[in-house]
């Protein structure tokens, strides 16, 4: 379940350089300079049609190559061909990638290939006539859910192995978008499962950015759903005879999702920030995250008591773009929430300023305070 290179510049004993201990694979470093060129050249000769390799040899060679250098795109592409011809089980590539990532947690080509494989797998899901080896045989929804969970694990491991691992977190977002379909359940699950992780990695901007992505997706969801609710209401008003059986189903689903209680989530997030800022002075990421969370809570229509249909429409557009514009900021003038009041934040900042001794912390606090004051003044 893990690979690594054992620093061992000379072959002192006449024995294999492969060491397997408790399911962890080690390769003594002296052999790499022989092994890598050997498999590399062999694969290239095959590609140039100068030397034939059968399917099993190809699988072995690419496997070895990729564990030594997972950014060798050609090797992944050979495996793509094998998968498409039905000779190679795509799940094997997920496993191979996972193994490679234990040593090369950033490897861009590994993540890219992983997304290709996942795309193949979900296509198969929608075409049950295709026979795949190693099909788990479970219901498609269950299967996808398991895939998602596994990807979350892989991302988490890789994120822990390299600070601010952009590729790992990007992949995580991609999986939620394309496999998880950004359902409320998935978003909430991820929010709770990453809470501990980010608290242990307070400078990991990517981790906190992920939480912003989750929160914004939740906001977007709630807006869309309340839009549907409002539209349903308007339809029902116009056609009272239209029995609500159809819309009731949709409404019930929406209401279930409405029970997300966004203000509470945002408040929790702000509390998390405050706690971490207090405990670990001087981390810009935390202040950044705090800024943006407060911004979300102040401007989200889901947290305002009365969302007018027009506001919601305008917001729907911009939140689905997931971009933040000055214009949007001015448009969304929701009533201030007492519990999330900027006044409370200012009290917090003043407390930080009076008690902290870290120069960076002071600087962030002052900047944040300035921003808040301007913000309140609007």
């Amino acid at each position: 379940d893990e690979i690594g290179l054992i620093p061992c510049p000379e072959a002192r004993y006449n024995r294999s350089p492969i060491v397997l201990v408790e399911n962890k694979l080690g390769v003594e470093s002296w052999c790499v300079k022989f092994l890598l060129p050997y498999v590399h050249d062999k694969l290239l000769l095959y590609r140039e049609r100068k030397q034939w390799l059968n399917k099993d040899e190809l699988i072995d060679i690419t496997c070895t190559l990729l564990l030594l250098n997972p950014d060798f795109t050609t090797a992944w592409n050979v495996r793509k061909e094998l998968i498409l011809s039905g000779t190679l089980n795509p799940l094997k590539d997920l496993h191979l990638g996972k193994l490679a990532l234990t040593k090369f947690p950033k490897s861009p080509e590994t993540w890219i290939h992983r997304r290709w494989v996942l795309q193949q797998l979900i296509q198969e899901n929608s075409l049950p006539s295709l026979v795949t080896k190693g099909n788990l045989g479970a219901a498609p929804v269950e299967r996808i859910h398991r895939l998602v969970q596994e990807e979350m694990n892989v991302c988490s491991e890789a994120a822990g192995r390299y600070p601010s691992n952009y590729n790992a977190w990007s992949h995580r977002i991609w999986v939620l978008q394309h496999l998880g379909k950004l359902t409320v359940k998935v978003l909430l699950d991820e929010l709770s499962s990453t809470k501990y992780w980010v608290s242990m990695h307070v400078s990991d901007h990517s981790g906190f950015h992920y939480r912003q992505f989750l929160l914004k997706s939740l906001i977007g969801r709630t807006v869309t759903d309340s839009n549907i609710l409002i539209q349903n209401q308007m339809v029902n008003e116009q056609n009272p005879s239209l029995q609500k059986e159809e819309s009731a189903g949709a409404e019930a689903a929406c209401e279930e999702e409405q029970s997300v209680d966004l203000p509470h989530r945002l408040e929790e997030e702000l509390e998390l920030c405050t706690e971490l800022i207090d405990t670990y002075p001087g981390h810009e990421t935390l202040w950044c995250h705090s800024d943006e969370t407060l911004n979300n809570s102040h401007h989200s229509p889901a947290t305002s008591h009365m969302a007018q249909p027009m506001d919601v429409d305008g917001l729907n557009e911009s939140s689905s773009k997931q971009s933040y514009t000055q214009e949007t900021k001015r448009l969304k003038r929701a009533p201030v929430q007492d519990s999330l009041g900027p006044e409370m934040e200012i009290r917090f900042i003043d407390k930080v300023l009076s008690t902290c001794r870290d120069a960076d912390q002071t600087r962030f606090a002052i900047a944040y305070r300035k921003w808040l004051v301007t913000f309140l003044g609007q």
Binding site: W116, S170, W174, D204, H205, C288, K321, Y324
Partner: protein, 235 residues
């Protein structure tokens, strides 16, 4: 980026750069591209690899430069972008970081600092009267100090930060960043700030294509004189 490969903002820049220099840029070729790039700008103000991703110096440069080529930079929130990129210059080191809370890296001397000329031009086109007529909106001297003092390999070549080894990529982008930091504007408005001895002076680089401006002109002129290629493959 290549057939069956990843999709991100870099490819938009590569395509726009090549197409504009070779005179094959058509609205059809880039239909929807500008809008897609704009969606890559996030709450931080910078631009990520694809919509939804964390803001990142490399992707931000590619996105903005591509939009400049497509003449659609105003689809972005230029203020939040300016706020983000200026926040990326490190107050102690003088160099730039690629993302919030990360370490300085010599290559961002170009990816990040290179954004300021682009922004300057875009804001100027919008009629902004507060813009300087002699400096970019970052500390040019501090960046030059970082590059010259911390990013040089004694055996030649440049690097990410002290302790790292040299490579062509860092050599290219440290030098490109140095050129950006030394030269403001062009023509009548050109203003130089060269730190250290006069021999440190580099030629100015074009902030969109990162080759010297005369090469840009020559390329454009050359391809303008060629017949525009048809869609059918040759031969």
């Amino acid at each position: 980026m290549h057939v069956g490969g990843e999709v991100d903002v870099r490819s938009a820049y590569c395509a726009a750069s090549v197409a504009s220099l070779t005179n094959v840029l058509t609205p059809a070729l880039f239909a929807g591209t500008a809008e897609w790039i704009a969606r890559c700008q996030n709450w931080e103000g910078g631009i990520g690899g694809v919509p939804g991703m964390e803001a990142h110096g490399g992707y931000t440069f590619c996105g903005v430069a591509a939009l400049v080529i497509l003449k659609k930079e105003h689809l972005l929130n230029l203020r939040s972008l300016l706020h983000w990129v200026t926040g990326r210059q490190m107050r102690f080191e003088g160099g730039f970081q690629g993302r919030c809370n990360k370490l300085v890296d010599g290559c961002y001397s170009f990816w990040q600092a290179g954004l300021l000329p682009l922004l300057h031009r875009a804001l100027h086109a919008r009629g902004d009267t507060a813009l300087s007529m002699s400096r970019w909106m970052f500390d040019q001297s501090a960046l030059q100090e970082y590059i010259l003092l911390c990013c040089q390999c004694p055996a030649g070549g440049l690097l990410d930060k002290p302790g790292k080894s040299r490579d062509f990529y860092h050599t290219c982008y440290c030098l490109s960043g140095l050129a950006i930091a030394q030269h403001f504007g062009s023509g009548d408005l050109h203003h130089e700030v060269v730190l250290g001895v006069p021999e440190n002076r580099l030629q100015a680089t074009h902030p969109v294509y990162n080759i010297t401006p005369d090469k840009v002109v020559r390329a454009v002129m050359h391809f303008l004189q060629q017949p525009v290629p048809g869609l059918e493959p040759a031969g």
